[in-house]
Amino acid sequence: MMDHIYRPETLTIHAGQIPDKATGARALPIYQTTSFVFDSADHAASLFNLQTFGNVYSRLSNPTVAALEERVAALEGGRAGLASASGMASEAMVLMTLLQQGDHVVAAGALYGGSVSLLAVNLAKMGITTTFVDARKPEAFAAAIQPSTRAVFAESLGNPSLTVMDIAAVADVAHAHGLPLVIDNTVPSPFLCNPIQFGADIVVHSATKYLAGHGTTLGGVIVESGKFPWGNGKFPGMTEPSAGYHGVKFFETFGDFAFCMRARMETLRVYGAALSPMAAWQILQGTETLHVRMERHCSNARKVAEFLKNHKRVAWVNYPGLAEHPDHALVQKQMRQVDGEPGASGLLAFGVKGGLQAGVRFIEAAQFMSHLANIGDTRTLIIHPASTTHRQLDEAQQVAAGVLPDMVRMSVGIEHIDDILWDIDQALERSA
């Protein structure tokens, strides 16, 4: 008998949490404890040796946090997950587990700014170098690979560039060189896109965004596919006795969830960027409604994009859900359908006629659209990068970073579409 295959709309609610053994509690209990008792000295030794599975200390694992880890792993169609304190912490857990001094990364160029800083500044300080390439050119990834390259890093849907990457094409390039493809899948969320299905080996999420959805809580999760051949000779840290965890050979011992176990026991345990049980619980309250929210985010964003396209005060619109977007075919291939249209998530960018000052006036004229730096909230969020996040750059540098003077980035919320369109329209009128 084959096991029943559950759909994502069921996994968002159930995966990773069955009723509590001790109490029968149906909702997820919050195990707000730093530590867990050992039954005996022998039990303690077995836990530390990883011969018995169980909790020791909440910096390593915690039952409430584990429910989030399994839920995101299930939604991504992966083998295992590992949570940490933020999306950036999760990205650091992946890269600091994979890489060591002298290694090299090939990364997409138009990444989220925090990711660029991690690669170009922080990892560079440790002797790990990165070559940034055009996310739209799989052949550029191939050309940038060196003998010391150990990872390929990119976003499924770029923030704020809104470029959509051909995951299968870049996965083929990475795999031809024996390298894992790491994909930041924050913007689509696991409901709209599953990069593992197209060949990604490790997926990273800022759970702060759509997975939580309420804008209250920071968190991050990594998921491994379980399919990468770590024994290919390029990753001795996966196959040789671990100096960081008393001689365990992670790949031999844990097989298809070896990467998450190594990231947990060697990296998270030592750097300490653990997610708190309370934060994991708060994120999961949001994850239960991920599928309902994402459908509304997509349909609202599509209507906003169509409205902006026809507005006399708007110079241009960038939304991957529009048929004229250069990556629209990839959206159709890689992302879930919502109401018969490809679900392109809730992020879009547009130009206000009148340049930088008009962009600033638009932001300031908004009634309920919030001027802040987050994305993926239930609320509609707007930001003018040229006067905020990228203001330290001159105009030429801003353009190189994909930030035009008149550009407004919007994370379309799930308020009533007519109210969103009203606020956009009145703010555009006052931007003149």
Binding site: H43, Q51, F53, A66, E70
Partner: protein, 157 residues
């Protein structure tokens, strides 16, 4: 091969005496991890490894035998930690001693042995780890964020 959750649960519930072929006495080897884990859940493990049998070295308190045919008690299941090409003669022994399940560990796949065991009416599992499957289905792996595939409104047993 028996690969669905209900068959794996039945195998883990009914087969309590498990001979482990290729069991190592080294604490850091995966086979030792599996044996120690299974003992902790009340299974009787019987080591089979000529290297330790020759010197009379017990493993985890159990006498080690040189081969399956030397084991003096009934065996329910045989868990194999050997290269795939060595499994076929082991499968014949599994059938001859009346065991009810041939289990080839994670990374061990001998399809001829699998077919032989199934034709003889045995349960057969390959390329899976007994410890990981037990932990996945009985709740122990929940702590590590593994995608267990278990969806249920019943209390964890």
């Amino acid at each position: 091969m028996n690969n669905d959750i209900s068959a794996l649960l039945r195998i883990l519930r009914d087969y309590r005496t498990i001979a482990i072929v290729g069991l190592s006495a080294e604490w850091s080897r995966p086979s030792f991890f599996v044996a120690k884990y299974l003992q902790g859940f009340g299974y009787r493990i019987i080591p089979v490894n000529p290297r330790y049998a020759a010197t009379g070295t017990p493993i985890l308190g159990e006498t080690c035998y040189a081969s399956l045919t030397e084991i003096p008690v009934p065996v329910d299941m045989v868990d194999v930690f050997r290269k795939a090409e060595d499994v076929l003669p082991i499968a014949r022994e599994v059938i001859s001693i009346g065991a009810k399940c041939l289990w080839q560990q994670l990374g061990v796949v001998n399809l001829e042995a699998d077919a032989l065991a199934r034709e003889a009416g045995l349960d057969s599992v390959f390329n899976r780890c007994v410890k990981i499957e037990h932990a996945r289905l009985k709740g122990g792996l929940n702590w590590a964020g593994i995608n267990t595939g278990v969806i249920s409104a019943k209390r964890q047993g």
